[in-house]
Amino acid sequence: MAGFKFIYGCVTIHVMSGSRERFINMCHHRKICLEHVISGDEYLEAVISARNFRTACEIAKKTGNKIRIKKKKGIPFIAFRYRKHYSFVAGVVLCMAFIYICSLFLFNITFSGNSNLTTPVLTRYLESIGVKNGCRTACIDCNDIEKKMREDFDEITWVAAAVKGNHLYISIKENDSFEGEIKSTEIPENIIASDDGTIESIITRSGTPLVKKGDNVEKGQVLVSGVVNICDDSGEVIAKRGVTADADVLIKTEMIYSDELSEKYENKVFTGKTRVNAVIRAGKYIISIGPGAVGLKLCDKKEDYTTLKINDDLYLPVSVGKITYYEYKPEEYTYSDEEASAVLNGRLARLLSQLNQKGVQIADERVKIFKNNDIYTCEGALILISPQTVKENVAADELAMPDSKISNGEKKESN
């Protein structure tokens, strides 16, 4: 309500006379809305809209009251007051033109629902098809984006694109059970060991297993062959068929682990001195207002930016923020035995956690921490159980039958 009053303009009127009630009733009869009506001894004050002022004047004349404007408020009065301030008018026009021009270009892309396909991957893909920050929103064809994304990403089962203001929203649903392109034709492939180790378990679904649990294998050794022998009743191989070997093979391998930590290290001790700079960033251009890092010898920098926006969908290509410099002094410290041990154990635990996330089981860890001169060393071996296998194509000669067997076979047929 207050917003409308400000847009259309309103005036506070001061009515002087004794017949206040008559004035109010006539305003009521003429459907003039009165607000904040204050009654004094010989006067009346009220707020009315600017467009009703002339009617109120007529009423005041009829009722023998004197009316005057006490206060004016609203855009019509501001515009009238500044009508000759050309720079102000030009500024308002330019501002509106700037906002309008900004609304024509894309300034933000938001992806939702993606987990396997990361935002940078999708952003790069959109750039490759000509959709990027700064391009005209009118040129963006959402249907075309949806179609291309469905075609180019097999993982995507559903995609919706929508442009709101200068913001492109892309919602994606991924196929969680997708495991790469399904091969339409079977290519004969062997499973080979990618590292030396001992077979911990082997479950073959397709192909001929050449090793069993407990066997020691070398890097490059064929574990499951993609060649399946077809034998006759006497056990003689009469044909060979190529298949894609498929098996779960777990190999126990030894991984040599070594890590070092210097006894002395540098630590940043912050002095508490800071310098704050205001920053305005437009694209790659940055305007910094402030002293910079003057007077600070060594410092860390922290940047905070906020993109300006008119509403949730209309972003401006300008970010404002601040850069804070924190001064520090490097000081040399010495690790105690416990501290060094904790740091090295922490690093090892982090590595084991990463291996676990990759599906590697840790069977054993034989690691020792010792000090040699000024260096703490963590050394040993990790026993890992993991599917250390790769696939390679079956060589053509593996599938070929020996000449003698072919001739024997032909003889049998002729007999």
Binding site: N25, K31, C33, E35
Partner: protein, 91 residues
């Protein structure tokens, strides 16, 4: 069938059918009167309105018309009494 019977049988609100005043009082700080006709007097201690059912007097302190349009009037201040004046309705 007269107006009252029609309104009763159709379940229509009486303020719409008869133009009866509707008075809403919020605590002792605000009174809103709908379907009023005109203002008889307006002082800081008393506001008197005419309605179809007679004169309604609102007495109190620091009374001020907050809002007035063709349908309703909103009065704020410290409200003490809201009464129908010269009202002799027989049941």
């Amino acid at each position: 069938m007269n107006k009252a019977e029609t309104a009763r049988s159709l379940g229509l609100p009486k303020d719409v059918v008869f133009g009866m005043p509707v008075i809403n009082i919020t605590g002792d700080m605000q009174v809103v009167v709908q379907n009023f006709k005109s203002i008889v007097s307006y002082e800081t201690t008393e506001v008197r309105l005419t309605t179809k059912k007679g004169c309604v007097g609102i007495k109190g302190k620091c009374l001020e018309i907050e809002y007035l349009d063709d349908d309703q009037i909103q009065i704020k201040g410290i409200i003490c009494i809201v009464e129908y004046e010269n009202h002799n309705r027989q049941k």
